[in-house]
């Protein structure tokens, strides 16, 4: 937009405000990272400049792996996130394909239903859902989250995939079907390879949302070794009297790195996924 403006104007109108945004948006992360490398005793010395590390240490990270259930939390979070992603992708590919291609009675109604399901927040359902989980005796099992996370993931993933499937010309499948392939085979060998960018976006979305989820995990996985990273960090590393700030921040940093890493690679796909699925709808 400011292609031909001179450097001075550009600095005032673009770089300076952008710098302001970066400082505001990234300062909390800077703070978490430096705190995680501080000695707990140094945090209490109020004469030290809190914006810098006085005595660098990795003790907080070592403590996390040897003195807490952090390794268990990582394992739990990973299992739940991977399994929920696979379940969601499987269901969403089928729903997205059906919504994009098949004309059947009530397909319009179904599309609206899926969209509305995307807007149902966990806070509306968690109390009755806890009763359901209790009835099936799923408390503190991975299934409690693997069954419930997809309800939050399938709607958006189906929507996004529907957008992708629609961009693939129908004629490609029709050719294959004329040549004798069944619809399932045409879908599997013609449409799926072309839809890989969409499936990848939906997969990233599902994985990170499962990784980040808090409320269901807080209620359904409350026993010590079954917690996920966010729940374990918030409930086990905060004791009512003493805050172990260093370990808390170390856990928060480690729990954030995987999603930050994934998104730094896929930020462009994420943006194009938004336009393909949700926004153009």
């Amino acid at each position: 937009m400011l292609g031909k403006a001179n450097l001075g104007t550009r600095f005032l109108l673009v770089y300076l405000p952008l710098l302001g945004y970066l400082v505001f948006l990234l300062f909390p992360f800077y703070w978490m990272i430096i705190t995680s490398f501080k000695r707990d005793v140094d945090i209490f010395v109020l004469e030290y400049n809190p914006f810098w590390i006085e005595n660098f240490t990795t003790d907080n990270y070592r403590f996390l792996f040897t003195g807490t259930a952090f390794p268990e939390w990582v394992k739990n979070t990973l299992i739940v996130a991977v399994a929920s992603t696979i379940v969601s992708l499987f269901c969403s590919v089928l729903i997205g394909y059906a919504l994009a291609r098949l004309r059947f009675r009530g397909s319009n109604f179904l599309g609206v239903g899926i969209f509305l399901a995307y807007l149902v927040p966990p806070t509306l359902l968690f109390l009755p859902l806890a009763q359901v989980i209790a009835r099936y005796e799923l408390f503190n099992t991975y299934w409690a989250l693997i069954f419930t996370y997809p309800t939050q993931l399938i709607p958006f993933a189906s929507w996004l995939l529907m957008g992708y499937f629609r961009t693939i010309p129908r004629e490609l499948e029709e050719c294959a079907m004329i040549d004798g392939a069944s619809r399932l085979r045409a879908m599997w060998s013609i449409v799926m390879p072309l839809a890989i960018p969409g499936i990848l976006s939906a997969g990233i979305f599902s994985f990170t949302l499962s990784w980040n989820e808090f409320l269901y995990a807080l209620i359904f996985m409350s026993s010590g070794t079954m917690k996920t990273i966010p729940v374990g960090t918030v409930s086990d590393l905060i004791r009512s009297d003493v805050f172990q700030w260093g370990a808390l921040m170390a856990s928060a940093v480690l729990g954030s790195i995987p999603v930050a890493f994934i998104y730094s690679f896929f930020v462009d796909q994420y943006v194009s996924g938004l336009t393909a699925g949700a926004v153009k709808g």
Partner: protein
């Protein structure tokens, strides 16, 4: 279709109906309840904490969303320029939105701490204040503090969504407008605004729904305190439904969100359909 449909019915549709039933009973944890009609709903209307919660939720959503939208729009316009380290900057500003909220909120918990807050430290150092600011312990200040953290988390969502819309604006449109003698501001109004109006409105409706139904940010920062000054529907439903074990009452609190959410969801649906046609 079937597997996904079944999961949605079993773990979303059924719990929703069960929630309506529970809200009409006096069920407590471990004690099956009896039917009490609309008693929970009418009791809540005379519960001062619930009224405060309602007020907080509306303030929380209606104050933060405009800030998120305006700052997000500003950021999107900046990111739409050619800048050095483009990809790095884009993924950097996205961080508050994509990392686990419960974990990034722990960062804010310390930034707001009554003793360790670096804001208090800096302001004291510059001689602006003499005592630490009690960001989360002061009932008047706490709601503002959680709102700032919420705005921080929500700006990237608006920015990245609007940026996606901006990139759909053909460069030729801007060029044509410049040739016709339109200034920068005029081009913004006549070329950019019409294109991003749609996505901005959609993002705003999404954000209102999510902010209304928020939970974790407030749970981590204040658990609804001090003196219930930061309770919103989600945290109060959790407090009553699990900590106080009154499931029926908790379900009723959560259901009070429903008409509001439904209103904005339908608005969103109508708007999206117009866009498509």
């Amino acid at each position: 279709m079937l597997p996904g449909g079944l999961l949605l019915l079993a773990f979303m549709g059924y719990p929703f109906l069960l929630g309506i039933w529970l809200s009409l009973t006096d069920t407590r944890i471990g004690v099956p309840g009896g039917f009490v009609g609309l008693e929970n709903f009418s009791d809540l209307l005379t519960d001062n904490i619930f009224l405060q919660t309602t007020r907080n939720t509306f303030l929380y959503a209606l104050v933060t969303v405009p800030f998120k939208a305006v700052f997000g729009l500003g950021l999107a316009l900046l990111l739409n320029n050619k800048i050095p380290f483009q990809k790095l900057v884009r993924s950097g500003v996205l961080l508050p939105w994509i990392v686990p909220t419960a974990l990034s909120t722990l960062g804010w918990l310390m930034l707001y701490d009554g003793i360790f807050s670096p804001f208090s430290w800096a302001l004291k150092n510059w001689g602006v204040i003499s005592n630490n600011i009690n960001f989360l312990g002061d009932a008047n200040l706490a709601l503002i503090s959680v709102m700032v953290a919420n705005i921080w988390r929500g700006i990237p969502f608006f920015a990245i969504t609007i940026l996606a819309g901006l990139q759909a604006v053909p460069v030729e449109l801007h060029e044509a407008a410049s040739i016709d003698g339109a200034g920068r501001w005029q081009r913004f109004l006549s070329v950019t605004v019409p294109v991003i109006k749609g996505v901005t409105l959609i993002a705003t409706l999404f954000s209102i729904i999510w902010t209304f139904a928020d939970f974790q940010l407030i749970y981590v920062l204040t658990r609804g305190g001090p003196y219930n000054s930061t309770h919103i529907f989600g945290t109060y439903a959790y407090q009553i439904g699990t900590v106080s074990a009154q499931i029926g009452m908790g379900a009723a609190i959560a259901l009070y969100m429903f008409p509001i959410l439904a209103f904005f969801a339908i608005l969103l649906l109508i708007y999206l359909r117009q866009e498509v046609n």
